[in-house]
Protein backbone atom coordinates (compact mmCIF):
# COMPACT_ATOMS: atom_id res chain seq x y z
CA UNK A 1 0.00 0.00 0.00
CA UNK A 2 1.38 3.41 -0.95
CA UNK A 3 1.72 6.43 1.23
CA UNK A 4 -0.58 9.38 1.65
CA UNK A 5 1.60 12.43 1.12
CA UNK A 6 1.20 15.90 2.56
CA UNK A 7 3.28 18.98 1.81
CA UNK A 8 3.54 22.17 3.84
CA UNK A 9 5.42 25.41 3.33
CA UNK A 10 6.67 26.83 6.62
CA UNK A 11 6.61 30.61 6.68
CA UNK A 12 9.82 31.91 8.23
CA UNK A 13 8.57 35.42 8.82
CA UNK A 14 5.60 34.69 10.98
CA UNK A 15 5.90 33.43 14.54
CA UNK A 16 2.20 33.64 15.13
CA UNK A 17 1.46 31.02 12.48
CA UNK A 18 4.33 28.77 13.59
CA UNK A 19 2.79 25.41 14.36
CA UNK A 20 0.04 25.63 11.77
CA UNK A 21 1.45 22.76 9.72
CA UNK A 22 1.82 20.54 12.80
CA UNK A 23 -1.70 21.34 13.94
CA UNK A 24 -3.07 20.57 10.48
CA UNK A 25 -1.14 17.29 10.42
CA UNK A 26 -2.41 16.38 13.86
CA UNK A 27 -5.98 16.83 12.68
CA UNK A 28 -5.33 14.74 9.57
CA UNK A 29 -3.73 11.88 11.53
CA UNK A 30 -6.65 11.91 13.96
CA UNK A 31 -9.10 11.71 11.08
CA UNK A 32 -7.14 8.82 9.62
CA UNK A 33 -7.70 6.98 12.89
CA UNK A 34 -4.17 6.74 14.27
CA UNK A 35 -3.87 6.14 18.03
CA UNK A 36 -3.59 9.24 20.22
CA UNK A 37 -0.04 8.41 21.24
CA UNK A 38 1.13 8.21 17.63
CA UNK A 39 -0.66 11.45 16.76
CA UNK A 40 0.92 13.19 19.74
CA UNK A 41 4.45 11.98 19.02
CA UNK A 42 4.20 13.06 15.37
CA UNK A 43 2.75 16.43 16.30
CA UNK A 44 5.40 17.23 18.88
CA UNK A 45 8.31 16.14 16.68
CA UNK A 46 6.98 18.08 13.71
CA UNK A 47 6.25 21.19 15.77
CA UNK A 48 9.78 21.28 17.13
CA UNK A 49 11.12 21.08 13.60
CA UNK A 50 8.72 23.71 12.40
CA UNK A 51 9.74 26.09 15.18
CA UNK A 52 13.42 25.47 14.50
CA UNK A 53 12.91 26.38 10.86
CA UNK A 54 11.16 29.61 11.84
CA UNK A 55 13.77 30.54 14.45
CA UNK A 56 16.92 29.61 12.59
CA UNK A 57 16.30 29.12 8.90
CA UNK A 58 13.71 31.62 7.68
CA UNK A 59 11.25 28.81 7.04
CA UNK A 60 11.35 25.73 4.89
CA UNK A 61 9.19 22.80 3.87
CA UNK A 62 7.64 19.81 5.59
CA UNK A 63 6.70 16.63 3.76
CA UNK A 64 4.82 13.93 5.59
CA UNK A 65 4.28 10.45 4.18
CA UNK A 66 1.72 8.38 6.01
CA UNK A 67 1.94 4.60 5.77
CA UNK A 68 -0.20 2.08 7.65
CA UNK A 69 2.73 1.16 9.92
CA UNK A 70 4.80 4.36 10.08
CA UNK A 71 4.79 8.08 9.48
CA UNK A 72 7.79 9.69 7.82
CA UNK A 73 8.35 13.42 8.34
CA UNK A 74 10.94 15.21 6.22
CA UNK A 75 11.81 18.81 7.11
CA UNK A 76 14.07 20.75 4.80
CA UNK A 77 15.42 24.28 4.95
CA UNK A 78 18.05 26.46 3.33
CA UNK A 79 19.16 28.02 6.60
CA UNK A 80 22.63 28.31 8.11
CA UNK A 81 23.05 24.58 8.83
CA UNK A 82 24.14 23.05 12.13
CA UNK A 83 27.92 23.34 12.73
CA UNK A 84 28.04 20.82 15.59
CA UNK A 85 25.20 18.30 15.52
CA UNK A 86 26.39 16.49 18.64
CA UNK A 87 26.28 19.74 20.62
CA UNK A 88 22.90 20.70 19.15
CA UNK A 89 21.51 17.36 20.32
CA UNK A 90 22.39 18.15 23.94
CA UNK A 91 19.40 19.04 26.11
CA UNK A 92 19.55 22.70 27.09
CA UNK A 93 21.96 23.78 24.36
CA UNK A 94 20.53 26.60 22.29
CA UNK A 95 21.76 29.34 19.97
CA UNK A 96 18.49 31.28 20.13
CA UNK A 97 18.49 35.01 20.82
CA UNK A 98 17.17 36.67 23.95
CA UNK A 99 14.11 37.81 22.00
CA UNK A 100 13.29 34.24 20.99
CA UNK A 101 13.80 33.04 24.56
CA UNK A 102 11.41 35.68 25.83
CA UNK A 103 8.75 34.12 23.62
CA UNK A 104 9.20 30.83 25.43
CA UNK A 105 11.40 29.15 22.83
CA UNK A 106 15.09 28.40 22.88
CA UNK A 107 15.01 25.94 25.77
CA UNK A 108 17.42 23.72 23.88
CA UNK A 109 14.87 20.93 23.78
CA UNK A 110 13.94 21.00 20.09
CA UNK A 111 16.20 18.34 18.66
CA UNK A 112 16.18 16.24 21.88
CA UNK A 113 12.37 16.21 21.78
CA UNK A 114 12.42 15.17 18.13
CA UNK A 115 14.72 12.29 18.98
CA UNK A 116 12.72 11.34 22.03
CA UNK A 117 9.40 11.12 20.24
CA UNK A 118 10.49 9.35 17.08
CA UNK A 119 11.91 5.93 16.26
CA UNK A 120 14.63 7.48 14.16
CA UNK A 121 15.98 10.95 13.47
CA UNK A 122 18.42 11.48 10.65
CA UNK A 123 20.13 14.85 10.26
CA UNK A 124 21.80 15.91 7.05
CA UNK A 125 23.26 19.37 7.39
CA UNK A 126 25.83 21.57 5.72
CA UNK A 127 26.91 24.92 7.09
CA UNK A 128 25.75 27.72 4.81
CA UNK A 129 23.61 25.38 2.71
CA UNK A 130 20.81 24.03 4.86
CA UNK A 131 19.46 21.15 6.87
CA UNK A 132 17.32 18.14 6.13
CA UNK A 133 15.74 16.13 8.93
CA UNK A 134 14.07 12.78 8.40
CA UNK A 135 12.02 11.44 11.25
CA UNK A 136 10.15 8.15 11.41
CA UNK A 137 7.36 7.51 13.86
CA UNK A 138 6.29 3.90 14.13
CA UNK A 139 2.63 3.00 14.55
Amino acid sequence: MGALSYHFNIDGEDFSSAGDASVAMKKTLRQLGFPNDVVRRCSIAMYEGEINMVIHANGGTADVDVYPDKIVIVLEDHGPGIPDVELAMKEGYSTSTEQIRNMGFGAGMGLPNMKRYTESLEIETQVGVGTKLTMVVGV
Binding site: G19, R40, E48, A107, M109
Partner: protein, 108 residues
Protein backbone atom coordinates in the same frame (compact mmCIF):
# COMPACT_ATOMS: atom_id res chain seq x y z
CA UNK B 1 -12.54 16.73 37.59
CA UNK B 2 -13.71 18.75 34.59
CA UNK B 3 -12.29 22.10 33.55
CA UNK B 4 -15.61 23.71 34.41
CA UNK B 5 -15.57 22.22 37.92
CA UNK B 6 -11.96 23.29 38.48
CA UNK B 7 -12.78 26.79 37.29
CA UNK B 8 -15.56 27.08 39.85
CA UNK B 9 -13.69 25.38 42.68
CA UNK B 10 -10.59 27.61 42.36
CA UNK B 11 -12.40 30.78 41.30
CA UNK B 12 -10.52 30.98 38.00
CA UNK B 13 -11.62 33.47 35.38
CA UNK B 14 -12.59 31.75 32.13
CA UNK B 15 -11.46 33.71 29.08
CA UNK B 16 -12.47 31.03 26.63
CA UNK B 17 -14.20 27.78 27.57
CA UNK B 18 -15.18 25.86 24.44
CA UNK B 19 -14.74 22.44 26.06
CA UNK B 20 -15.86 22.82 29.71
CA UNK B 21 -16.46 19.09 30.16
CA UNK B 22 -12.89 18.15 29.34
CA UNK B 23 -11.54 15.96 32.12
CA UNK B 24 -8.36 17.12 33.90
CA UNK B 25 -6.09 14.18 34.55
CA UNK B 26 -3.02 15.97 35.88
CA UNK B 27 -1.13 19.23 35.89
CA UNK B 28 2.02 20.74 34.47
CA UNK B 29 3.69 24.05 35.27
CA UNK B 30 6.18 25.58 32.84
CA UNK B 31 6.93 28.51 30.57
CA UNK B 32 9.52 27.10 28.20
CA UNK B 33 7.41 25.85 25.33
CA UNK B 34 9.60 22.98 24.19
CA UNK B 35 9.90 21.81 27.75
CA UNK B 36 6.13 21.84 28.07
CA UNK B 37 5.75 20.05 24.74
CA UNK B 38 8.14 17.36 25.84
CA UNK B 39 6.83 16.80 29.33
CA UNK B 40 3.20 17.86 29.71
CA UNK B 41 0.81 14.97 29.32
CA UNK B 42 -2.46 14.74 27.51
CA UNK B 43 -5.23 15.95 29.84
CA UNK B 44 -2.96 18.10 32.01
CA UNK B 45 -3.98 21.54 33.27
CA UNK B 46 -1.07 23.64 31.97
CA UNK B 47 -0.08 26.46 34.30
CA UNK B 48 2.04 29.25 32.79
CA UNK B 49 2.80 32.95 32.59
CA UNK B 50 3.53 32.72 28.87
CA UNK B 51 0.84 34.64 27.02
CA UNK B 52 1.75 34.74 23.33
CA UNK B 53 -0.02 32.99 20.45
CA UNK B 54 2.32 30.02 20.50
CA UNK B 55 0.76 28.69 23.69
CA UNK B 56 -2.31 27.76 21.67
CA UNK B 57 -0.28 25.61 19.29
CA UNK B 58 1.52 23.96 22.21
CA UNK B 59 -1.74 23.26 24.05
CA UNK B 60 -3.25 21.84 20.87
CA UNK B 61 -0.32 19.58 20.10
CA UNK B 62 0.37 18.45 23.67
CA UNK B 63 -3.39 17.96 24.07
CA UNK B 64 -3.60 19.65 27.46
CA UNK B 65 -7.07 20.03 29.03
CA UNK B 66 -6.70 23.77 29.61
CA UNK B 67 -4.22 26.62 29.97
CA UNK B 68 -4.21 28.58 33.23
CA UNK B 69 -2.48 31.96 32.95
CA UNK B 70 -1.24 33.02 36.37
CA UNK B 71 -0.08 36.22 38.13
CA UNK B 72 -2.88 38.17 36.45
CA UNK B 73 -1.30 37.73 33.03
CA UNK B 74 -3.63 38.55 30.16
CA UNK B 75 -3.27 36.92 26.75
CA UNK B 76 -1.58 38.90 23.99
CA UNK B 77 -3.82 40.31 21.25
CA UNK B 78 -5.17 37.60 18.98
CA UNK B 79 -4.66 34.75 21.46
CA UNK B 80 -8.27 34.65 22.57
CA UNK B 81 -9.54 34.45 19.01
CA UNK B 82 -7.07 31.66 18.30
CA UNK B 83 -8.14 29.77 21.43
CA UNK B 84 -11.75 29.95 20.31
CA UNK B 85 -10.83 28.77 16.84
CA UNK B 86 -8.80 25.82 18.13
CA UNK B 87 -11.18 24.88 20.97
CA UNK B 88 -8.65 25.55 23.73
CA UNK B 89 -9.86 26.22 27.26
CA UNK B 90 -8.11 29.36 28.48
CA UNK B 91 -8.38 30.55 32.08
CA UNK B 92 -6.67 33.21 34.13
CA UNK B 93 -6.01 33.91 37.80
CA UNK B 94 -4.24 36.50 39.95
CA UNK B 95 -2.60 33.72 41.96
CA UNK B 96 0.98 32.59 41.36
CA UNK B 97 1.88 29.47 39.40
CA UNK B 98 3.09 27.88 42.63
CA UNK B 99 -0.16 28.58 44.47
CA UNK B 100 -2.40 27.40 41.65
CA UNK B 101 -0.27 24.32 41.05
CA UNK B 102 -0.72 23.33 44.67
CA UNK B 103 -4.46 23.89 44.48
CA UNK B 104 -4.85 21.94 41.25
CA UNK B 105 -2.87 19.09 42.75
CA UNK B 106 -5.11 19.10 45.81
CA UNK B 107 -8.20 18.84 43.60
CA UNK B 108 -7.02 15.79 41.68
Amino acid sequence: MTVQALTERLGLTPLCLPDPDREIEGGYTGDLLSWVMGNARSGDAWITIMSNQNIIAVATLADTACIILTEGVQPDPGVLELAEKKDINLLTTQASSFAIGAKVAACL
